[in-house]
Symmetry: C2
């Protein structure tokens, strides 16, 4: 039996050499750990030929980072809170695949890649424990907004999508501020970016862009491909020369745009990442992060 | 009858020449208009020998600036909201005279004397209309806190006074942020000052200071005379050379204080006003703001 074990070892007895690379600023409130853990869980599932059902893998991924459960799916994803007190039945579900509304774009404005002062997990625990407004948000505001948001995605209704996105970002940061001691993720540049998006929508005469901020000062601006020119004009006017905007064509904003708002964010954005709705983790055969000697290597991402 | 009217005119037919001077930064969210309107109403009441009941004058003063109703009183004052839909029965009441707890001090840190982006009245109307957390605050949180705060003042309980002061300041700014579009009064310096006061309390091992921010970025720090050394050490360490601190004696903070928090507010405070609990508007006989020719003159305040 011993020799048989040696000649045919169980795969699960082998140690794993894992190399991970991330092209996103880490620990900056941009869900880089969610992306990393989703990729890790999917890679291990591939290695051991485990079932690929994203709901199953989602439960595993969220043990590494709560929001990693969302990142197992592509497209538009909802993180359902479940009914169990301990959150054990909390899981992510796809609302719609990327192909349902492929025109959705996101511009990520990296305000600061500095580490967060408060981890998002510890911060949320403090908010739940001490904010006297949190229960109102959790019990009454969020459930209605989630229902409306799912309907907006199903109907490809950008105006409603944008309105809820902005309101809910602000309310999340409001309950952070209502925490004892208060938690601040937004800074003066973040607030300047909010004002810029509001001004853009005012000048456009409709909602062409929506801001949202996670547990950090960096902005994500959602927009539809149809309104790309508006957002690119904004970025070009405010952040000319910032890495990530090299290929942006087109002209700046018109005279009616309040130039003081532009000056308020000058120099406050270090990088722009232009992306869009896409699929979940993908297996890439030809881009190993381990070289032929077993050492880590970097790949151009 | 005509000649009788000319020789003995009714006082109320005479126009008034009013000169007002304010030693507080105006339109900066520091209730300068409340102080001004309270002084104006009291001066006119003196002129016409009207009843001096502060509750009566308070109703008149609040027509100029809502918070002016509080400023008619000295000491510790509560602004009661009343039960009428239109706020017509909203009035201020004295919780305790200054002599009940005369040890209360306030350091006002003027972060920026720039005009507010949003008037506090317009801002509050927008918050009531659009914040989905405001009703929870108004109906459930504030009434309990007001009751606890009055008890804390009656019992001269600084720890409770400080806890409620800080929590309620944060929650006020939270519902401002939950407004659509969001209202920002705090800036990065304000947030830095919050962190400084938290650090001071941590190093002191008890609540020696409490911050609060009204509709602007400027901080008011409350402390008791007994803990003056702690607050003066903080101010001296952070704001040496800033106008208003010329007479502050004593040493800086110890080594255990996190120096990075000090650096975060460096250069962000332009003036410090050291004051304390006091009486309401006072008639000053010897300091007229009108000279013998009827022209305005300035008095050293």
């Amino acid at each position: 039996m011993e020799s048989a074990d040696l000649s045919l070892p169980k795969l699960s007895h082998w140690p794993l050499h894992i190399v991970s690379e991330n092209n996103f600023p880490t620990a900056a409130g941009l869900a880089s750990s969610a992306a990393g853990f989703a990729a890790l869980v999917r890679a291990i599932a591939d290695l051991y030929v485990l079932p690929h059902d994203p709901s199953f893998l989602s439960r595993i991924a969220r043990q590494g980072s709560g929001s990693a459960c969302r990142s197992m799916f592509g497209g538009y994803v909802s993180w359902e809170m479940g009914v169990e007190e301990d959150g054990s039945d909390s899981l992510a579900q796809q609302v719609a695949p990327a192909s349902h509304w492929p025109e959705m774009r996101a511009a990520i404005l990296v305000v600061s890649a500095a580490k967060k002062g408060v981890s998002s997990t510890a911060g949320m625990q403090a908010t739940v424990a001490t904010s006297e407004l949190f229960s109102q948000r959790a019990a009454h505001v969020v459930p209605l907004r989630v229902t409306r948001m799912k309907a907006a995605i199903r109907e490809r209704d950008f105006a409603t999508f944008a309105e809820i996105t902005m309101k809910d970002s602000n309310q999340f940061h409001a309950v952070c501020l209502d925490t004892s001691p208060p938690i601040f993720y937004l800074n003066d540049i973040s607030r300047g970016l909010i004002r810029l998006v509001e001004e853009l929508n005012r000048v456009a005469g409709k909602l062409v862009a929506a801001y949202t901020f996670d547990a950090g000062p960096n902005a994500v601006i959602y927009y539809l491909e149809d309104n790309k020119e508006w957002v690119m004009a904004l970025l070009k006017t405010c952040f000319e020369g910032v890495p990530g905007l090299e290929d942006v064509q087109g002209k700046g904003l018109g005279e009616e745009f309040n130039i003081w708002l532009v000056k308020a964010v000058f120099g406050g954005v270090s990088r722009v990442i232009l992306t869009g709705v896409g699929d979940g983790p993908e297996k890439v055969e030809d881009k190993s992060l381990i070289d032929e000697f077993g050492n880590p290597k970097s790949v151009a991402l």
